[in-house]
Symmetry: C2
Subunit: 354 residues, 2 copies
């Protein structure tokens, strides 16, 4: 079918493992399946709600890990869920989805990570609508940029180029996760935005861009369109293809090389909830600044995060600490160290492997 400017779609990427929330997050219960959104909803459920404000249910595709398909289907009934046989990062996943949507005659599709938090749904819908308009009719790769509020070193950054519309610019440059000094410069300079990992583009435009920069990826992904009739058939088609693909992010594989990239500065709130600390910033606190979640006890504590799920977590005489008890595992660390929690989940995994 031919691309249509109206026939929009949404891809939700739900394959991440989110080890930074260990021990709450586990391989079988990654961050997007945790009740981290408002009202105790999972981040994935909240992401699907956003998608359904933009397109009907049958125009949503969720890509996840093969072993998470059942859990994701249970969370998102009636939505197409496809499991990747092996993880290959975002470029192959988005390329496969482009083939899926192309075979359905889709216009532009939006890429949504499933583990971010956005509360202002109306502002999100307004910006997404503008993005669909911009990317539906033109051969552009549109990215969502988030205003920089602190010198974050865990995000990629986008430098704005020439303005082409309200809050809409050409991209001057994509940059990797910067060191602290450079992040401070980006914050002070005012020319940079955070790369949110949310994108809008047409299937044909994306596959053409991929072919230009990574032809070895583009050819087998483009061919998947022939097998995209249903989820099972698509999974069977992925099985022989995915293991041989380069594991690479869409930023590296496509965006840094493409000439036709735009960035829309988001008017909505956004948080990637990258750590226990990021999550806690949005939680209510007791009179001593502690976040107590679930079966949690804090005695003589200040500014601590104490989480007890499936058991009791107790902290005594601590300040700026995280103490988490979830279903048979405990983590204790300083609040300032929560972005290093991945090292613990790795150590636990290695220990189990011995």
């Amino acid at each position: 079918m031919t691309p249509s400017a109206e026939n929009h779609s949404v891809l939700i990427l739900a394959g991440g493992r989110g080890e930074r929330f260990w021990p709450w997050s586990r391989p079988e219960r990654p961050k997007q399946l945790l009740p981290l959104a408002r009202g105790g909803r999972t981040l994935l459920d909240a992401t699907l709600e956003r998608a359904l404000r933009l397109v009907p249910r049958e125009r949503v595709l969720i890509l996840t890990a093969r072993d998470l398909v059942e859990a994701v289907r249970a969370e998102c009934p009636g939505v197409a869920v496809v499991g990747e046989p092996v993880p290959r990062n975002t470029a192959p996943a988005i390329g496969a989805a482009a083939a899926w949507f192309q075979s359905r005659g889709s216009g532009a599709f939006m890429v949504l990570p499933s583990d971010h938090l956005i509360d202002d749904l109306d502002a999100f819908v307004a910006d997404a609508t503008r993005a669909f308009e911009a990317a539906g009719s033109e051969r552009v790769l549109l990215t969502f940029g988030i205003p920089v509020s602190h010198p974050e070193t865990n995000f990629g950054y986008i430098q704005r180029g020439a303005q082409v519309g309200p809050r809409l610019h050409r991209v001057a440059r994509f940059t990797e996760k910067p060191d602290r000094a450079r992040a401070e410069q980006y914050l002070a300079g005012g020319e940079h935005l955070w790369n949110s990992g949310m994108f809008v583009w047409r299937p044909d435009v994306f596959l053409d861009a991929l072919e230009a920069s990574r032809p070895a990826l583009a050819a087998p992904l483009r061919a998947l369109a022939a097998a995209a009739a249903d989820e099972r058939g698509f999974e069977r088609a992925l099985d022989p293809v995915f293991p041989g693909l380069e594991a690479i992010s869409v930023d590296y594989a496509v965006l840094e090389h493409a000439p036709n990239t735009l960035v829309l500065e988001a008017a909505f709130d956004w948080d990637d909830l990258g750590s226990w600390g990021a999550w806690a910033r949005r939680q209510p606190r007791d009179g001593h600044g502690n976040v107590l979640f679930g079966d949690a006890v804090a005695v003589d504590c200040r500014s601590c995060i104490v989480v007890g799920e499936g058991g009791t977590a107790a902290a005594l005489g601590l300040e700026d600490m995280v103490v988490v008890h979830v279903d048979g595992s405990t983590l204790a660390c300083r609040l300032a160290d929560t972005d290093r929690v991945r090292r613990v989940s790795e150590a636990v995994r290695e220990r189990g492997a011995r």
Copy 2:
């Protein structure tokens, strides 16, 4: 029967709840039932071993809480175990045991707390033998004093009086748990010993001393001798008596008032394992000074105690901290705060009661 200088006995006091080891210790699994002794043995089992070096099994009595009787019997097969219907501190317990032993024609009996650690068994036996000799034939109340090694504020102290034998003195004065300044004075002065809670005396001598200072306690306890034929009968006899008794320690009720008290300075090692920190001082450490026990992981940690029982405990980037995960509960605190852990177990209990 008449008291005999040969017919010694041992009373093991196993009714404590040991909340300082929460969450390892619980009401149903107090400190004396934890594997804190060498080789992963329980403190109670190690205490029984000491007792059996002194007297045959049939001359040991264990007093514990009624709801702990089964657990204690399982740990100490073939030993008389009697459960108190309500806790009434050490004076009523020792008085009841005096009646039990008196009805069996026992000579002196030794009182052993069940939650202390003594590794040098030979030195212990030698000192206990001396104590039995001293207290078996004379009307004295003999206490074991421990050489003071640091200004501990959680112990009572004994001031030595006139020397009456090698390492054996009359007691000049029993003192309460001192404040820090006074504990420093005691340490510097060299006249004080820690009150270990281990004693040797004859049943008749103890009951007479109790009658002199607390007649209202002595009368009903003395009368228990008539019901001391077996454990069940003794328990039935305790039921109507114990609830009405004053809950008071043997130090307050008897020792501080008795004129005939002796103190034997122990030649054996002794530790009351009063906290996680005290326990850890006797455990092996990794290259960074961490004590890792059970399923424990420490990443970038120094001088920490990490315990995982029935689950994984993980610490990240910490120093001088205690992180404990035991069977559905977690504790995190500074090593310096481990003697305040009781406050956490109290808070958890109150929380459960709401």
